[in-house]
């Protein structure tokens, strides 16, 4: 997409992309440290992919950015505003695509998408309808508008969750494991959707994922979180030849039947 198209898309969304600054962020749950002194910056319009093993604190970091968790120490700034202040959600439009979708099970797909503009009175019912149908069209979900979430497949739920976020015309889009539990083709589709949304709407994106292909394919920068610490931060090309042995093992795990990991850990 050329610069003028991006600018027009940005103008259509009504607000510019925002940056995120994480400063010495630490979080404990009942005395157990989950995040330890994380410092990083995400630039406006960037796709930042956060990788790391399960339980390394990726989703917790994402919840801090959107203000669902309060830091034990340090702070997160979104466009210069403290993310833990509820008023920030009124100043900056942020959308989080939850790992399990977090769709409203009692509503149809259409009503799930229309909830945000209706509640914030962002137009007439026909304008909202146009907006919702456009979002459904972008994600090839036109036929699912009348269905309830229980009738959808895992991939469709993820796409509905992205479409719901898209209707918000966010300045900052956060994705929690958007390709988990999906087949390779659907994973590639979701990666393409994330990249296309950035191109069309110039939205800042933070993607938490285990998916190496997604990181290599769409990320501007990749951070790797291990044991609550940021152990690597750089362009996706760094993932091809990691210098840290822990990162290398995480990205290119070797299946060794003679000396399996669970026995090494037990020993």
């Amino acid at each position: 997409m050329n610069a003028s198209a991006t600018d027009s898309a940005s103008a259509r969304s009504g607000a510019a992309a925002v940056g995120v600054s994480v400063e010495e962020l630490s979080k404990d749950f009942n005395g157990f440290p989950v995040l330890r002194g994380i410092t990083l910056t995400v630039n406006p319009g960037e796709i930042f992919v956060l990788m790391g093993p399960s339980g390394s604190g990726k989703s917790v970091l994402l919840k801090h950015v959107v203000g669902l968790e309060r830091p034990s120490a340090g702070r997160v700034l979104v466009d210069g505003h403290d993310a833990s202040d509820p008023a920030t959600r009124g100043r900056v439009r942020m959308a989080l695509v939850f790992q399990a979708g977090a769709l409203f099970n009692s509503m149809t797909v259409y009503d799930n998408l229309a909830l945000y503009p209706r509640e914030h009175r962002l137009g007439t019912e026909s304008a909202i309808r146009d907006k919702v149908m456009r979002a459904l069209q972008i994600l090839s979900l036109e036929n699912a508008a009348g269905k309830v979430p229980a009738e959808l497949s895992g991939g469709m739920r993820k796409r509905v969750a992205i479409a719901r976020a898209l209707v918000m015309e966010p300045q900052l889009m956060l994705y929690d494991e958007p390709t988990s539990e999906l087949d390779p083709v659907m994973s590639a589709t979701i990666s393409e959707v994330i990249a296309t949304l950035r191109e069309q709407y110039h939205v800042t994106s933070i993607v938490v994922s285990h998916d190496r292909d997604l990181a290599l394919g769409i990320a501007d920068r990749v951070g790797i979180l291990m044991g609550g610490r940021l152990v690597s931060l750089g362009p996706p090309a760094d993932l091809r030849a990691p210098t840290d042995p822990r990162v290398a093992d995480f990205l290119n795990p070797v299946i060794d039947l003679r000396n399996p990991r669970f026995r090494q850990l037990a020993g």
Partner: protein, 273 residues
């Protein structure tokens, strides 16, 4: 041995400090619950101006709280009125003043049993459903999704329910009173050791009761219903964990509501005397 001796004072200390903690903890929890409910109430009250545009949700909640609870309230109240007439008739058979059965059933239903039964059924039927729905929304991150959308759950999920219960409790209570009185009248007429004509039964009721007795019951019902819905909303929204905690929240919601109804009943009755 030396180590054991050295540890002994620490153990004693921990027992001494742990015991008061065990005693204090339930009180702290109760105070935390009250604080949390009040915070939710103020948060919901802040959004009262949005109520007119939430009219659809208000009507939906009126249907769930009022219309669907009405049959069970009617059935129970009929039999409560019947049993009241039966028991008082049995007692009066030995003493004599059977004509006061109408007054006894009338006053009992209007001032006490009508509002209490309506609130108890509300806790069992509606309170449990509210706690389950909101707890499920919390566990499956729907509440988090609302917050990220800058849609306060207190506005969308709590306020319409509180408004609906205020609108529906008088309806449920009046229905409970009327059906209870009617049940008592039938039993009073057709039970051989009572045999009072409905005209006589209702005449004593009219003679010795006035609207303030019914109003007294309506005030109680409003307070009980409001407390039940607020407590169940609060418990649902504060659920943490998985599916097991949804069940635990439902149980906690119903049990807390029932205790609250009886505790409030004493204080409100005393205040209205």
């Amino acid at each position: 041995m030396a180590a054991e001796t050295a540890n002994a004072p620490e153990e004693n200390e921990s027992i001494l400090t742990a015991a008061p903690k065990q005693v204090v903890r339930p009180f702290v929890r109760v105070l935390e619950g009250i604080g949390s409910c009040l915070r939710l109430l103020f948060e919901a009250a802040r959004h009262i101006p949005t109520l007119p545009r939430q009219f659809g949700r208000f009507i939906e909640q009126c249907y769930l709280i009022g219309y669907t609870t009405l049959p069970i309230v009617a059935i129970l109240s009929f039999f409560i009125g019947s049993v009241l007439a039966l028991q008082s008739g049995y007692a009066a058979a030995n003493i004599g003043p059977k004509q006061f059965i109408g007054l006894l059933v009338g006053l009992s239903m209007a001032r006490e049993l009508g509002p209490v039964m309506a609130a108890v059924l509300l806790a069992g039927r509606v309170g449990s459903a509210i706690a389950a729905e909101l707890a499920s929304m919390k566990v499956y991150q729907e509440i988090d999704a609302l917050e990220t959308m800058n849609i306060p759950p207190a506005r969308m999920l709590v306020l319409p329910r509180l408004a609906a219960v205020l609108a529906m409790m008088p309806v449920l209570t009046i229905m409970s009173d009327l059906v209870g009185w009617f049940g008592g009248a039938i039993v009073a007429k057709y039970t051989h050791f009572i045999s009072i004509e409905p005209a006589s039964y209702f005449a004593t009721m009219r003679q010795y009761m006035d609207f303030s007795d019914v109003l007294n019951g309506l005030v109680k019902a409003e307070i009980f219903g409001f407390a039940v819905v607020l407590v169940c909303c609060n418990i649902g929204l504060n659920t943490r964990g998985g599916p097991r905690e949804i069940g635990a929240s439902v149980t906690r919601g119903v049990v807390t509501s029932l205790i609250l109804i009886l505790v409030l009943d004493y204080f409100v009755t005393k205040a209205l005397m």
